[in-house]
Amino acid sequence: MMSNPASGEPIDDLKLEEAETPDELLALWEAEGPAPSGGIANLVACMVTGALGVTGMVLSWNLGLGSLVDPGPGFFPFAVALIAAVLSAAQIFLGRRGGDGEKFTSYSTMVVWGVLSLAIFVALLPLIGFEIPSLLLSFVWMKFLGGETWRSATIYSLLVVAAFYAIFVAALRTQIPHLF
C-alpha cells in the first residue's frame, strides 16, 4: 500500500499531507484523479448506446407496436429505445469536446486480465468445481494484478480457498460445484 506496485517507488506522502483546506483537498483530488476522456471516447460510447437504441427499436418494431388504444408488446420498448437513440445522438453532438468519464491508461490493461480471469473461472466452474478456479483466480489477482510476492500470493490464495470451502461447502452447504 505504501509503494507503487507498478514502479515500486515510494508514494509521495508529503503531497497527501499538504492539503489542508477543503478547497485544497478538492483540488488535490482533481489533480490525482485520471484525466477526463476526450471527444473520441464520447463519440464511441454514444455510438454504442445509439446503436443499442436503434437495434432495440428494430427488434421492438418486429414484436408489433399495436396502437395507442391497444399497445402491443413492442410499444413500450420501442419508446424507450427511441429515447436512448435520440439522447445518444444529442450527446454525440453536445459532448464532442469530451470532458466526462476518464481516459483509459496503461493500468486499464489490468482490467482486461481481470475480466479474462473471471471468464475462465465461470467457464471452469461447472466442469471442475470451484476450488481450482478460485485458487487460480486468487493467485493471478494477487501476484500479477496486485504485485504480491510469489510466497505471499501462494499462501494467501491457499488460505482463501480453504476458508471459502469451509464457509460455502462445509458450513452453509450451498450448491456450488466442488471437487472434494
Binding site: 497527501l16 489542508e20 476522456s37 399497445p71 459532448g95 482490467v111
Partner: protein
C-alpha cells in the same frame, strides 16, 4: 391507540433472539464490506444480497436493515481514516474528519459520527413511522396514470439530480428500462428479446444486474485505480468523545438530523445534498468559521447526522409510494421484491406485520450500529490495513459464489461478468450505473401502468388532463428534465470545462 398496536407487535417480532442475531450479523458484515475502499453502500448491498435469500421475509429485512446501516457507516470510517469517501454523501466528512485523524483524534471523529448517525437515523425513523402511513393512505387513490407519472418522475429525477452528465444518466436510465423488458411480456405472454434463450425467458434477474454493475464493476474499476497514492490508515485512540466534544457536537447533531430528514424525502441525491447543507449551516453559524477544514468536530457531527437521517427518510417514498429515491434505495427495493414484498401504498394496510417489521428493524439496526461501531473500530482499522491486492480476489470470489447461489445458474454468472464489464466501461465513459439499476427496478411498474393508462383512456391522451395529480407530477417532470437540459446547453455554450469535483467517488 389503534395506530400503535401493530407498531408494538412489530417490535415483538424484531426482538426475537434469532432476528436480533441476523441483524447483528448484518451490521457486522455490512461494516466489514463497507469499509473496503471503493465499495460504497450500493455495492456492499449488491455483494451481500444473496446472504438474505432463504431466510424468512421478516428476518431477511431485518438483516438487510443491518447491512444497510453497517454499509453506510463503513463509508464514514474510510472517510476519516483514509480520506476516501465511500460515497458522495460522506465527502464532507473527509474535510474535518481526516484533519481530526491527523491530529490523533480519529477515534473521537468516528465516535461522534456514530452517535450523530444514531440520533439522525432514529429521529428520521420516528418521522417515518408517522409520515409513511399518511402518505400511503393518500396514495391509495392513485390509479395507473398516477403511478406511471410517479415512476417516470422517479427515474428521471434520479438521472438528472445525479452528479455527472445528465444526458448520459438519462441514456443509462432508458437502457435500464429496456433491459428489464427482456423476457415474457406480462400482458400478452410474448417472449421479448430472448433470442430463443430459455434462461432469458423469465427476464434478467435484478440481483445479477446490480451485483454486476455495482459489485464486479466497482471491483474491476478499483483494480485499475489501486496504484494511486493512498495514505496509510491513521491510528485510532480515544474513541469515546469527551464531554466537551459532545457539548460542541450536540447542536450540530440536532440541526443535521432535522435538515437531513427534510432533504432526504426528496428524490435524487438526498443524503449528499443534506450532508453538504449541514456542513454549510455549521460553518455559517459557527463563532469561528476558520476552524472548519482544520478538524472542527461539528464538521463531522452535522453532516454525519444529516446523511444518516436522509438515508433513512429516503425510505419514506419507497415504503409509501413504492418509488426508490436513489441507487441504494433501488437496491433495497429489489431486495424487498425478492422477499415477495412489494413496497408501496398497499403494504401498510395489507401487510402491516411486514411494513412495521421493516420500520422496526431499522430502529434495531441503528441501535446495534451504535453499540457495535465504537468497540469494533479497532477491527476495521485492521481490515483497512490488509493490502487491497489480497482483499480484491476475496470480494470478487464472494460476489461470484454469491451470485451463483441465487439460482445455481452458470448462465447468471456469465451475465454477472458481462454486467461487471459494462459497469466498468460505464464508469470510464461517464455513464453512471446508478440510474440504470434504478430504472431497471422501476421498469415493470412504469410499463404496466403506462399500458393500463392507455387502455383506461382508450387512446385519448388528452384524458390525462382530467387527473390533477398526474398533471402536477408530469408538470414537475417537465421542470426537472427541461431545466437541467437548458442549463447543460448554456454551460456547454460557455464551454467551461466540466467540474471534476465529484471524481473519485464510488457508488
Amino acid at each position: 391507540m389503534d395506530f400503535f398496536a401493530p407498531v408494538i407487535d412489530g417490535f415483538g417480532t424484531v426482538l426475537e433472539p434469532g432476528n436480533l442475531l441476523y441483524c447483528f450479523i448484518g451490521v457486522l458484515v455490512g461494516m466489514l464490506v463497507g469499509v473496503l475502499p471503493g465499495l460504497g453502500p450500493s455495492a456492499t448491498l449488491a455483494i451481500l444480497l444473496p446472504l438474505t435469500f432463504g431466510l424468512e421475509p421478516v428476518t431477511a429485512i431485518i438483516m438487510l436493515a443491518g447491512i444497510f446501516y453497517g454499509a453506510q457507516y463503513g463509508g464514514t470510517i474510510t472517510s476519516v481514516l483514509l480520506r476516501l469517501p465511500g460515497e458522495a454523501s460522506s465527502v464532507v466528512t473527509v474535510f474535518d474528519g481526516y484533519q481530526m485523524a491527523k491530529q490523533g483524534r480519529a477515534g473521537t471523529a468516528l465516535g461522534v459520527a456514530a452517535i450523530g448517525s444514531f440520533i439522525g437515523g432514529t429521529a428520521a425513523i420516528i418521522g417515518l413511522t408517522f409520515l409513511a402511513p399518511l402518505i400511503a393512505s393518500f396514495a391509495l387513490d392513485f390509479g395507473p396514470p398516477e403511478y406511471a407519472a410517479l415512476a417516470l418522475l422517479g427515474v428521471t429525477l434520479v438521472a438528472t439530480i445525479s452528479s455527472g452528465n445528465k444526458i448520459k444518466a438519462l441514456i443509462a436510465a432508458a437502457l435500464g428500462v429496456f433491459l428489464a423488458m427482456v423476457g415474457r411480456d406480462v400482458f400478452t405472454g410474448t417472449e421479448r428479446f430472448t433470442f430463443g434463450n430459455l434462461s432469458l425467458g423469465d427476464g434478467i434477474d435484478f440481483v445479477i444486474v446490480a451485483m454486476g454493475l455495482f459489485g464486479v464493476g466497482e471491483i474491476l474499476y478499483n483494480l485499475e485505480e489501486r496504484h494511486r497514492a493512498s495514505a496509510p490508515p491513521k491510528k485510532v485512540a480515544h474513541v469515546w468523545p469527551t464531554k466537551n466534544d459532545l457539548r460542541r457536537s450536540s447542536g450540530a447533531i440536532g440541526r443535521g438530523s432535522v435538515l437531513g430528514f427534510l432533504l432526504g424525502i426528496l428524490p435524487g441525491g438526498g443524503a449528499t445534498i443534506s450532508s453538504m447543507a449541514a456542513y454549510g449551516v455549521e460553518k455559517k453559524i459557527a463563532k469561528e468559521p476558520s476552524r472548519f477544514g482544520k478538524g472542527a468536530i461539528e464538521g463531522v457531527a452535522g453532516p454525519e447526522s444529516a446523511n444518516n437521517a436522509a438515508a433513512t427518510s429516503s425510505f419514506i417514498p419507497l415504503l409509501s409510494l413504492g418509488i426508490p429515491a436513489n441507487a441504494t434505495m433501488a437496491m433495497m427495493f429489489g431486495a424487498l421484491l425478492i422477499q415477495g414484498i412489494t413496497p408501496g401504498p398497499l403494504l401498510v394496510s395489507d401487510e402491516p406485520e411486514l411494513f412495521w417489521g421493516v420500520v422496526n428493524s431499522m430502529y434495531i439496526g441503528n441501535i446495534l450500529l451504535l453499540i457495535m461501531a465504537i468497540p469494533l473500530i479497532g477491527v476495521f482499522v485492521k481490515v483497512l490495513s490488509v493490502r487491497p491486492a489480497i482483499l480484491a480476489p476475496i470480494t470478487v470470489l464472494i460476489t461470484l459464489i454469491g451470485a451463483y447461489t441465487v439460482k445455481n445458474s452458470v448462465f447468471d454468472l456469465v451475465l454477472l461478468v458481462v454486467f461487471g464489464l459494462i459497469g466498468y466501461l460505464m464508469k470510464k465513459t461517464g455513464f453512471e450505473p446508478g440510474p440504470l439499476v434504478l430504472a431497471f427496478v422501476l421498469a415493470e411498474m412504469l410499463e404496466s401502468n403506462v399500458r393500463r393508462s392507455l387502455l383506461l383512456f382508450e387512446g385519448h391522451l388528452a384524458e390525462v388532463f382530467t387527473r390533477p395529480i398526474t398533471v402536477s407530477l408530469l408538470a414537475l417532470l417537465v421542470v426537472v428534465v427541461v431545466l437541467p437540459m437548458v442549463k447543460t446547453l448554456l454551460d456547454r455554450a460557455k464551454s467551461t470545462p466540466v467540474s471534476k469535483e465529484e471524481k473519485g467517488l464510488h457508488v
